[in-house]
Symmetry: C2
Subunit: 551 residues, 2 copies
């Protein structure tokens, strides 16, 4: 036990009185939801539900005569605050009845299928509350989606006599939670299902939920490091630092980090996709910034690159899709070929002409990464692609051309960084400690109220904690029909950066200034014990997002 | 101005009364120094000086009738606390006379040669005190070592009427400070020269100085991130994280970070050199740890790798030396060959047989890095070599062999990290803020006393700040004759990790336990505003180092 953990253990997460004194609150029906008929058809038993709001003084309260039995699980990647969600559920169900029980399934959703679990105790919660990581229960990426999985869930939940089950997960997990909820209702199970929105990328933002927990903490760690690196660049005046940031589909992390630290350039995938920019155009834009800075005597800088960038560049997206198809078809023969040269020759002859051209134009290292590194499904391992090095190699060529044309007179030296795992398991900030605890309490409220098929959400996050509102949002209302792999599927669509939103607009307004003169903002590391102005901050990008579809 | 910087600005660095009230203190002569005769011969005017100690109640004080004029400069890589050194000098010389002046040379030692400078003002100091980075003055790697450079220094110093000049730098810079001091005395200059020990690697430790400033802050940033990554590994139970840490010659950073965070493995270059371990043996050791953990069901872990490791592996060291020789001899022809394949074929025929064998056994990526990435002097760019990836590639092969022999039954998935620039410009911890401020005050004391050729040091760092002792150590006493590039040179030898010291012994005692069961220590980010147990910590490795040659 470090001094840090010992001190942080004493933090009492905060929330509105509706949640803190859950036993005196009640859930009231809010607005009805209109939905796509095709989604409704898939959920005969759980569609048509209304939004639920937690309030005091409703007459009926959540306080109970009989204890609750609830299960919970972490699904997918880690995010700071997970343990506080569990703490919120635990404390919440014991508020409504002191003898309530919380069972945690171990190692992610596979822990349900294998019925591996532990009972949560006050001692465990005291040890884990306010700590980062998911190590109390572990996590995993097993998806619960087949009828067989659902049947096992029903059997295990029945064995534990669970009144409710809470899945703490991302878009896929919450989609599956909607289906599980429907399945359990249909099969006569008494277990209610609740989702809690978790994705480090914050791509569950949108009309239903303002952000996912853990985003604030992770971005603050990244911002600390970006600011340190910027200070280094400014002191040494030697290097361009290309910093790739976690965030596969959406660039929320890069956008928030940019608003926090004011880099010279922050690429936003959604903008590149909207404008249909080719790799060449992206590199040209960067080269222009670097040349202009060099003309002003500046040969250093900070460039933020979202991890998922290359998937948004049209010609690279097409190449990846084509590669995945060809690799899938020829996998066995391909694997029999030893070495990169043999594999690339074989592949080149089978790719579409445009794809082969795109591939050949990439630096050799990137060609290797595209072809040799595969994910567990055999696809191109996109998270391993060092996009920042790709940009640098292409930039070096472009700047060389510009130099010989007399349009660039600087020196281009660089360093690369990837920030991801460094931030996912940090101890949650006060914001995330409070928010995730409140999400857990909201999930407890939904369990106590006997509601199934809801996402626990908390609204008004940019306002004082005491005014936050706990809201249950029907999971099915979040679903959209989408064509995936040739089939119509009901899915929760990831929320990308809104290019018309205030957060991106602020970046768009300021970035020319950031590019030309250094206005780096030094945020410092997360402070947990100082003045309120330091310890009680809210992500900047939320301020553009506080109008919510839920009234 | 962020809230963090605004709050941190208010921190008043602390020191012993001898430094805080410098005007009431005096310098008294301490022990004489015995030295190598060959060094003495090189310094007829500045050798033979004794250690100086700052004390109160000596009769003569440093308080002056006339103002002092002092210059200072940053030399080499950034380290947290640099601005507080400047603040200490500034405040110190104004304590002994309120009208004293501090001139900062800009952009490193080349700023002296070009006579680019700014005058330090109270407003500047207030804005920069307690902040990280060297951006107040910038820095550079120009070395002052030729007679011509020295003559320019003398002229510039005379022009500014400098009573003293303070160079804030590492082993090379302080070696050059010794020569500059001798030169100035010989040439009749009145400017005294003082060195301040700065190296992020802390390789200026040893008999003269307990650590260099900034080491504490940098390692605490790295420890924060290592602990976060360890928590991630423990939560997801999927990956081995190989974390390369800054520290080219000495493994002090890795050792301190290991004592802070308790990784499963921490490689220490000095131990590998002592034991003459080959790359094969290092990989075998690692594979044994990984296989034993897999047998216990653990397929995740944390491995710390010092940046300079490969230079300490005998066969790789020999390869690098051989490569540098061959590249130097055949540079022009080599550069005319396009592409890696052509270059490696040409080189292979010219390397010694053992070197060619070592090179051929390395993974292709590493061969490329060795041959294609050159530093500005044309040598192999060692800091670009991704040692952690080399280890991983060799480990994957070894674990594959062990699997086919039935000695390994795990799954080896990995992630890599390099932590360096992330920590060099963090805002100094209280320890570094105090320490570097005290070093600056000590430099001011030496300037006020009219002493030249001294290193400013502060002793007793593991004791309460109020008991710290300011000591001037003759720079020439730190010099040793060493054969470099076929010539005897007087140099300050880098201080490597003492394998008989308490810090390493502690690691050696605990590491088997850390390897077999996870005992990760979660340190949290640097706290600046919390309880003293959190904000006033001292590096753990210093506690083994508090007996000092200076009595």
């Amino acid at each position: 036990m470090t001094e840090f953990l010992a001190a942080r253990r004493e933090y009492q997460p905060r929330g509105p009185l509706t949640l803190v004194e859950l036993e005196n609150s009640g859930l009231v029906t809010g607005q009805a939801i209109t939905m796509d008929d095709r989604v409704t058809a898939l959920f005969p038993r759980t569609s048509g539900q209304s939004v639920l709001r937690l309030t005091r003084g409703t007459g009926t309260t959540l306080s109970r005569q009989t204890p609750l039995r609830v299960g919970c699980v972490f699904s997918g990647g880690q995010a700071p605050g997970g343990h506080n969600v569990v703490a919120g559920i635990f404390e919440g169900i014991r508020r409504v009845h002191r003898d309530s029980t919380l069972i945690g399934f171990v190692g992610g959703p596979s822990g349900i299928l294998k019925n591996q679990n532990i009972e949560i105790t006050p001692e465990l919660m005291r040890a884990y509350r306010n700590t980062g990581g998911f190590d109390l229960l572990g996590t995993g990426r097993t998806k619960l989606e087949s009828a067989e999985d659902f049947a096992t869930c029903a059997r295990v939940f029945a064995q534990h006599k669970l009144d409710a089950f809470v899945i703490i997960g991302g878009d896929d997990s919450n989609t599956n939670a909607a289906f599980l909820s429907e399945y359990l209702r249909k099969s006569g199970s008494n277990t209610c299902v609740t989702g809690v929105p978790k994705t480090i990328d914050s791509d569950l933002r949108g009309p239903w939920t303002e952000t996912s927990f853990g985003f604030d903490t992770a971005v603050r760690v990244y911002s600390e490091l970006i600011a340190n690196i910027a200070k280094d660049a400014l002191s040494g005046k030697k290097y361009y630092h290309f910093i790739r940031l976690m965030g596969r589909s959406a660039s929320h992390i890069t956008l928030e980090a940019a608003l926090q630290t004011h880099p010279n350039v922050a690429l936003i995938s959604e903008e590149i996709a909207r404008d249909g920019k080719s790799m060449r155009e992206i590199v040209d834009d960067l080269a222009r910034v670097i040349a202009a800075r060099a003309a002003a005597g500046l040969n250093h800088g900070i460039v933020l690159v979202p991890e998922g960038l290359i998937e948004f560049v049209p010609e690279i997206r097409a190449l990846i899709d084509d590669l995945n198809d060809v690799i899938a078809t020829h996998k066995d023969y391909l694997d029999s070929l030893r070495g990169f040269t043999a594999q690339i020759e074989y592949l080149a002859g089978r790719l579409k002409r445009e794809s082969a051209g795109t591939l050949a134009a990439l630096p050799l290292d990137i060609q290797r990464q595209l072809i040799m590194d595969r994910d567990p499904h055999g696809n191109v391992a996109l998270s391993r692609i060092e996009t920042e090095k790709l940009l640098i190699e292409l930039l070096a060529i472009r700047l060389g051309e510009m130099k010989s044309e007399g349009h660039y007179h600087g020196k281009f030296a660089w360093q690369t960084h990837f920030l991801g795992y460094e931030g996912r398991c940090a101890a949650p900030t006060n914001f995330d400690a409070n928010y995730s605890w409140c999400l857990g309490l909201t999930a407890a409220a939904l369990a106590a109220g006997g509601h199934t098929g809801y996402l626990a959400t908390v609204h008004g996050l940019t306002n004082p904690v005491e005014t936050w509102q706990a809201v249950g949002v029907p999971l099915v209302s979040m679903l959209t029909m989408e064509r995936r792999k040739g089939k119509d599927k009901a899915v929760i669509r990831k929320t990308l950066v809104d290019l018309n939103g205030q957060a991106f607009q602020r970046l768009a307004t300021l970035r020319d200034e950031w590019a030309s003169r250094d206005d780096y903002r030094f945020t410092g590391p997360i402070q947990y014990f100082g003045p309120a102005t330091l310890v009680d901050r809210v992500p900047l990008s939320l301020f553009s997002n506080n109008t919510c579809a839920v009234e």
